[in-house]
Amino acid sequence: MSVDAIVIEHVIVMVLLTLLIVVAVGIIILNDLLTAVILSGLYSLLSATVFVAMDAVDVALTEAAVGAGISTIILLGTLSFTKRVQKPQEHNNYAALIIVVMTGGALIYGTLDLPSYGDPNSPANSHPQLAQHYLTESQKEIDIPNVVTSVLASYRGYDTLGETAVVFTAAIGVLSLLGLRRRRRKEDPLLTDKQQRKQQNEDN
C-alpha cells in the first residue's frame, strides 16, 4: 500500500468522526426524544463504520448489533412507557459547560504527547509481550485465525468472564425492577385458548 492509501484511510475516519459530531450535537439540541433515539441508532451505525475503518471488525459487528439493535429497541421500549418529548430547558447550564470544557481541555492536553494515529511503533502497538505476542505467538499457542477471539477467550478470558457476569448482573437487575412475567394481561387475539391456559400456568 502506498502513502496515498494511508491518507485516504485517515480522511475516511476524519469524515466519519465529523459526521458523528454532527449527530451528537443533534441529540443535544433536539427536544423530541423519539428523534433522539433514532439519531442514536444512526450514531451507532456510523460508529460501526468508524470501527471498520479502524480495522476493528469485531467491534464494528458488536456495535452494530448492540448499539443499533438492542439499545435502540430498549430505548424505544422505554419511550413507549414514558414521555416522547423532553421538557424544554429554559436556561443553559453554564456550570456544566465549564466542567465539560475543562475536562475536554485536560484531555486535549493529554493527547499532545499521544503517539500519532496509526503509528506502528507506539508503545501500545509494539509491546513485545502484549500486542506483538498476540500477533506472532497466538498462531503457535492457540492456532485460531481471529486473534481477537483468542485474546478475548483465552489470553484475557478472565475479563470476558467478568463481561458475561456484567451482562448477567444487568439482567437480574432489570428483572428485579421490571419483572419477567406480565402482571396484567389483556387477552391476546392471536392466542388460542389452549395457549392462553399454558401461558397462565407458566406465569403462575
Partner: protein, 506 residues
Amino acid sequence: MFFNNHFSVLLVVLPLMAAPICVILRSSKASWLVALISNLVIVLLSLSLLSHVINGNVVRYELGGWAAPTGIEYYIDGINAILISVVSIISLATLVYSKQSIRKEIAQPRHYLFYAGWLLCLTGLLGILITGDAFNVFVFLEISSLSMYMLIALGRERRQALVAAFRYLILGSIGASFILLGIGFLYAATGTLNMSDIAERLPLVNGSRTVIVGFSFITIGLLIKTAMFPVFSWLPNAYQFAPSAVSSFLAGTATKVSLYIFLRFFYHVFGTDYSFGNLLLGNILLPLAVVGFFVMSVVAVFQTDIRRVLAYSSIAQIGYIFAAISMATEQGLTAGIIHIINHAFIKTALFISVGCILYRYGTANINQLGGIMKSMPWTCAAFIIAGLSLIGVPLTAGFVSKWYLISAAIDSGWWLIAAMILMSSLMAIIYIGRIVEVFCFKNSEAEGVAKVKEAPFSMLLPLWFLIIVSVYTGINGDVVVDLAKFSATQLLDNLPGLNNPVGNPL
C-alpha cells in the same frame, strides 16, 4: 499455614458461580443458604490467604496459565489480603443479618434476585481487590457497581430508592468512564495493562502529558467512586434508601474498595514519588479531605434520619482516610489503612443496628424513636458502643484510628490538620450523642411505640459479632496495627515489577 495458590481464584469464582445457582434455585431460603455457604468458604479462604501473605509472600496467580503481562494475573500482597478478609467477613455478617431484615423490605419473589445481586456485588468487590490488571479492575468495578445500583433500587422507600439508584448510576458511570479513560491513557503511554508492568514502564515516560492526564482522570474517577468531598452527592441518598442490609454491606465495603484502588494505583503503580512528589497529589487531596471531613461532620449534626447521619459521617471518615494517605508517609499510610479496617467494622455495625430499629419501628427518624433503649436494649447498646468507637473513645477501635491519624499528622508537622481532625471528632460527639440521648432519655411520644420486642436473634448475632470485633481490636490494637504497618511498608518499599523477587509466580 497451608495455602494453595489455586485457592485465590476461588475467592472470585465461588460467589460468581453461586449467583447463577441462586437464580436457578429461585427459592428465598435456598438462595440464602447458597450465598451463606459460599460466603463462609470465602471467609475461610481469605483468612488463610491473609495468614499466608502476612509472612511476606506475594501471591501471583496467572489466569489461563498465561505469563503475566500477556495474560491477566492476580497480585495479592498485604493490603489487598487484609481488605479481602474484611470485605468477606462483613459480607458474611450482613448476609446473616439480611435474612430477617429483607423479609420486611423486599417482596418474597424477589429474594433470590437480591441474593444473586449480593453475590455478584461480592464478586465484583473481591475481583477488584485481588486482580493485578488495570483493565480487569474496570470490569469488576462495573460488576460491583451494577449490582449495587440494583440492590439500592430494591429499597423500602421504593420511590426515593429508585431515584437514588439512578443518580448513583449516572455519577458512578461517569466515574467508571473516567477511570476507563485514564487506563486508556496509561495504555497509550506504556502499551500494557498489567499493573506491575505499568509501574515498571512508567519511569520511561514519566514526564509525558499522557501519563499526567491518565493519572488525573483515574484520580477523579476514583474520587467519585469513593464519595470524596466535592463529589459525594450520590452517597447519602443511596445509603438512606437502600435496603438496610445493603446499606450495611456497602457502608463497610464499597467505598473502602475504591480507596484500595486508589492506594494501589498511587502507591504501587505510579509510585509514591511520582504521585506525591512530582504531581503533588497530596497538595490537592489534603485540602479537599480536610474540608470534606469537617463540613460533612457538621452536616451530619443537622440530619434527622439516622441513616443519613451515618452516611454523612461516612463521607467524613473517608475524608480522614484521604487526609491520612495523602501525607504519603509510612505513618500516614498506616493510619489510613487502620482507619479503613476499623471504620469498615464500626460503620457496618452502626448501620445494622439502625436496620434492627428500622425492622421493629419502621422508621429511622430520630424524632420518632424516643426511649427505645427500653424496648431494644441490645440493639441500642450496640449502637452506643459503635458510636463511641466512631468518636474515638479509648478502648474502642476508633481510638486506635484516631491515635494514629493524629500522630501521623503531627509526625508530618501538620498541626493544623491534627486540630481539624480533633474538631471533627467533637462533631462526632454531637451527632452520636444526640441520637444516644434520644434513645435513652427521651420519652416515647406514641404509646404503641414502646411495646416492641428486641430485634430477632439472627440480626443481633452479626451485630454483636462486629461489635466484639471492633472492641477487641480496640483493646488489643496491635492486631490491626501490625497488619496495617506491614502492608503500608510493603506498599511503600516494594518496588513492583514483574521480576520482583518477592513475587513467586506459579
